[in-house]
Symmetry: C2
Subunit: 214 residues, 2 copies
């Protein structure tokens, strides 16, 4: 493959991923048709299968591509912050900001992804492990510096922080504005997810802080 055709293949792969993101968000992963992704990407149906083995593989590749962006954005947001507390607050605010600004992407990465049995049970998920390591690293550094208490292992703390963020993101994404069209039944009222970032920060930083009486 020449450098030119490799670049062209990369561009086509990205175009298919962008189309998959759009179609999965519109129809849901389960109902989404690979043919509709192909149509939106402007390629023949069979072309998709030159790049991706199956619809599950397309979802997993989409997840990896978007997760890589998320991790890059989070890493940049915490890079110059000096304290563990500050890094945790910056990470939480940035994560919530991404959910708010890119709700379609966020919905695929929370709600739709879990509809793939293959993703949930068979996929090793290295990008998710990388996100957890990024969070655990903040906690671990903060514990080593004596800024955070060391009662909770960093890997478990990372899981808990992700759990809080993921639940609030899911709750917010599945909730509906009063006049929102589309989905059948409204499920709770939209809350202010940016405000919620402060509450997550409050719970997490105080929950992990060092205490004399612990």
């Amino acid at each position: 493959m020449t450098a030119h055709s490799a670049a062209a293949a990369g561009v086509k792969r990205e175009r298919i991923l962008d189309a998959a993101e759009k179609i999965f968000a519109r129809d849901g992963f389960f109902a989404a048709k690979v043919a509709d992704v192909a149509k939106d990407a402007g390629v023949a149906d069979g072309t998709i299968y030159l790049y991706f083995k199956s619809k599950d593989d397309l979802l997993i590749s989409l997840f990896e591509s978007r997760m890589e962006r998320v991790i890059g954005t989070l890493a940049a947001a915490i890079a110059t912050v000096p304290t563990a507390r500050g890094k945790l607050l910056a990470l939480i605010r940035t994560y919530v900001g991404l959910v708010k600004d890119q709700p379609s992407t966020a919905e695929i990465m929370t709600v739709e992804l879990r509809q793939s049995s293959k993703f949930m049970k068979e996929y090793d998920n290295p990008k998710f492990a990388e996100l957890l390591r990024l969070i655990a690293g903040i906690v671990s550094d903060g514990q080593a510096a004596g800024e955070l208490g060391d009662a909770i292992p960093p890997a478990i703390a990372a899981r808990m922080i992700f759990g809080v963020l993921d639940e609030l993101a899911t709750a917010w994404l599945l909730s509906r504005d009063a006049g929102s069209p589309g989905r059948a039944a409204p499920r709770g009222k939209k809350f202010d997810i940016v405000r919620a970032a402060d509450w997550v920060g409050e719970l997490v930083t105080h929950g992990l802080s060092r205490r004399s009486h612990a």
Copy 2:
């Protein structure tokens, strides 16, 4: 319908739910066949549809039945505990104990349930709302008594606590023992989820506690 046949119908409905729990846990919700549920319950295929409209409806009914038990167990566990901190710790330990003792049920209620698009997007989920209200009530009482800080709204605190518990349950359920048969790829090592309950308790009670410097 006579009292006798109403009771018999109730028993049959329960038998179908027990069978669904077994088959969904064994095959996964998506791959599970209603015919296999019928066979395991010892009823004709068509009988299932006298009680449940669809496979999604069967899953939702199963969820409601099990969630009712979970809420009853949690409510009993916190009933006689005097403080909000004590109630939160009791609720967390009891929840984690249920996950550990009934992993098949827990897997359906975390992993499998999310594979139903209908459940995630269209179902109003009154039982889940009831669980959140139970947790929010503890937080709200603790705030009113001045035992907990009031920076975080009780409904949001409940979501965050559920998020932590749900993420740890999912991580534990999807992780595999070294010698575990069945699933394709191992996904992290099993951790001690009972120990993890202490860490959740630590994060949550300290995260929500009243602070003079807040």
